[in-house]
Symmetry: D2
Subunit: 269 residues, 4 copies
């Protein structure tokens, strides 16, 4: 099986690169399952039902979220009728939606997708390690799930790397999101889990983490309020990670995939 | 001119990869100036005078620091007799050492190296933007300095990217350090400044940001104190960024350089 | 001379208790100078020009601010024509307004009021100790200023206490604001400076730090967005600290002053 | 029933004031149950078994902890044979010790003591509200427990006040610890729960939160490492809150109790 994970889609520019490029990539690269982080898809903040559908229509099998999950309030409602939308699993009990989903791909494989939120330099949440542990135990790789994808949405590189090591051998892929910059440390860990500290964003990199530069640059120096933060609108880079799995659901190969915009193009052959 | 910047050297493993590989790389790639972040060179925490000398002997023209500057107390003393050692410029007035240095390379070029510490998710420091502004104005690129290298030692990707944009056109290179993971967003910004959100560490990547995995993995889940943090001792990756400059000191080309250890090898041709 | 400092006025309820009680207290207790923290006076967030004037009309000689200084954008403009309005001194150079003011009281005494913002658990700012040091040196107690009042707007008790000790003997009063809860540690420090870790708010204490309880209680447990934060509208407590000064401008006596609302009434005799 | 809660005992000076004053106060004020926060009792950092015993011998019925629980490693071991020692309830499953205890007083009453750690500006922990909720439900006030005492060890005043309101009517006392400064907002909440945002420390207030002043004052300005933090050794203030309960276990009266050292003496009559 071949998996593709795409990082945080930021605003219209990010959505455009996904809808324009993803269908061709899925066909050309014979990708079996696509997971997309969509927490910034709606003008940089959250996700709407229409955009969720747009990401599925473009080829997404599952959409994950993060600290921006509820920036668009409608997500609190439509998530309950959106079975392929996954929010961080370590929200409090009673939070709308689900933190993990067993997704059936077009070819009938079952992929467990879990989303978790880190706690270092982030809002107070329950233990993400324990929460993911419970989901993995409920649908173990090789028995219930043909593949397991963990999106660890976190700020600190240390916390994300700990996630990789702790679930090494029990997940097909542990990938970080949230910092909006791809890291160059993609590799298969000793136990067979593909890992990358952060997959980067699908957005315009001539920006401050996807946002138009002017206001963040001013605010960091001046410390006064000003205009709103708006997504940058230049050409976006689609930024993802491609993973090939063996019959046991563990990774045999991992490679970055980056197309368009300001970053160097990288297409696995 | 051709510059090489190497990220945070972590412990013995990191020093070994630098001393073994750097001399050959300098010769083969005809590198004119090497700047090395050494804040974790002494068993993961700070730097000693002997290690500072070791990094210069291996080919370093200048060594920068960060939040671990003073972990080895002797640094507070020997820094004043170490003209090529630069600590963050936005420490309070009266701090030992210097926050910027105009380094003469073997071929007689003058390179201004500035080190600054970010403030987002880090300790309280004075404004790094204003502090670097002052140093740049005192030794402007193209007039006093043949090249300007800014090491922004920071946690948040947003703050580092803001540094790149704000000094674009006035520095040869703005490069982030501190997170110990190389990013894949190296590029020349519109104004001619080479940029990379984080250059990664020179250390063993089979680790949690360069430290032996066992204790951090335990502590993140158990929240009890335990053993000391020790650098991981497996083979290290040398992780850097190579920049070619035009006659005006601005970048004409940028490329990552990674050799050894667990990461994919990348050597610019 | 007798000084009164009133803590963060929160919303209408806080303004009402100040306008209703302050004139009588000034008369009855023969108070010479009143400084009021007004950062939450406008519906909990910032201050308007009309409210600034209302606080002066009620008997205030000077109004200080904090991290909410600019929540009402008009403050960025009117502060430059509001000589008795003081914002934190450690904002970046170029910030509208002033961080210190030498205020003339009705009886012709000169009171230096300095406002500073802490950095522990707060936004990144320049060194508040160094910034206040400069203001104190420019208008020293006993030479230029008849009294010196320092409002240290900070979260951490440690940082506020450090302020008290560092300026002990050089200020008439060092008083903390920002946590919206009065502390019971008012005292005259060995060098003659009156000190209180936090003076508390002028607001409705049947609340979460002055805000209507319902939404903060929900949000702390549920971690989803919801209604806006609104000031609590029940009867407010006026919460202040009264300081008597000797001829040298140092404190001879300090006492809390609390009237109205939910807290125990304390009126110095 | 009459309860006394004493705030964080800091070092030898804090222990001396407790052992010297507590027995007399218990006798004179006819106190039925004493709970003491002991997280800083061992030279400012953690607790030893000998000191735990010393606090019980002085009259304590129960000792609570906080973020410094394990600073003395022996606490990880002896806590399992120390039935009256309670650490924060929202540590991960598997943490030594207990987060709540049903203590039998000398007169045979049963007092449920729960300790919880806040998450705002503190280390990542599981939800303290949910964790306390579970303990309260297991031993409800008026049915299983004759009194319920909640020690919320937290930095932010907002989080502590939320605790008070959420458990109002279901606890005899919700009291904050950790900031080492007593607040002046003690009161009985509408539902019958005694509340105080922070009870302050039993320690020397001529200090920075109980620590000798010199090193913290230097370090806040100089940002370089230096000497160790040592508890201040001047005369300490015993700082507590006294609560009278009706037959239903709810509060009928609350008053601060402060004796000795630098703070104003307050003894309820
Ligand atoms: Fe994002
Ligand atoms: Fe995010
Ligand atoms: Fe480092
Ligand atoms: Fe660092
Ligand atoms: Fe305030
Ligand atoms: Fe504030
Ligand atoms: Fe404490
Ligand atoms: Fe504490």
């Amino acid at each position: 099986m071949r998996l593709l994970f795409l990082g945080d889609v930021v605003g219209k520019s990010g959505r455009v690169v996904v809808t324009e490029k993803l269908p061709g990539l899925v066909a050309d690269l014979k990708i079996d399952c696509v997971v997309i982080n969509g927490e910034n898809a709606a003008h940089g903040f959250g996700i709407t039902e229409a955009i969720y559908q747009e990401l599925l229509d473009a080829g997404g099998d599952c959409v994950t979220l993060g600290n921006h999950s509820w920036d668009q309030r409608e997500a609190l409602v439509f998530i309950d009728r959106a079975p392929r939308l996954v929010r961080p699993v370590n929200y409090p009990a009673g939070t709308p939606g689900r933190g993990a989903a067993l997704i059936e791909t077009r070819k009938g494989a079952h992929v467990l997708v879990v989303n978790a939120m880190g706690r270092v330099f982030m809002d107070a949440m329950d233990d993400p390690f324990a929460a993911v542990e419970r989901e993995i135990e409920a649908a173990p790789l090789g028995r219930v799930a043909d593949a397991v994808v963990i999106d660890i949405h976190a700020e600190a590189t240390s916390e994300k790397q700990a996630f990789g090591h702790i679930f090494d051998g029990r997940a097909s892929l542990v990938v970080g999101t949230h910092t909006h910059v791809p890291t160059a440390d993609h590799r298969v860990l000793p136990g067979g889990t593909a890992f990358m500290t952060d997959v980067g964003m699908c957005g315009d990199y001539d920006s401050v983490i996807g946002m138009d530069k002017a206001e963040p640059l001013r605010r960091m120096r001046e410390k006064t309020p000003g205009g709103k933060f708006e997504p940058a609108s230049g050409p976006a880079t689609l930024s993802g990670i491609l993973v090939d799995l063996g019959a046991n659901g563990l990774a045999t190969r991992v490679a970055p995939l980056r197309v368009g915009g300001r970053l160097e193009t990288t297409i696995p052959v």
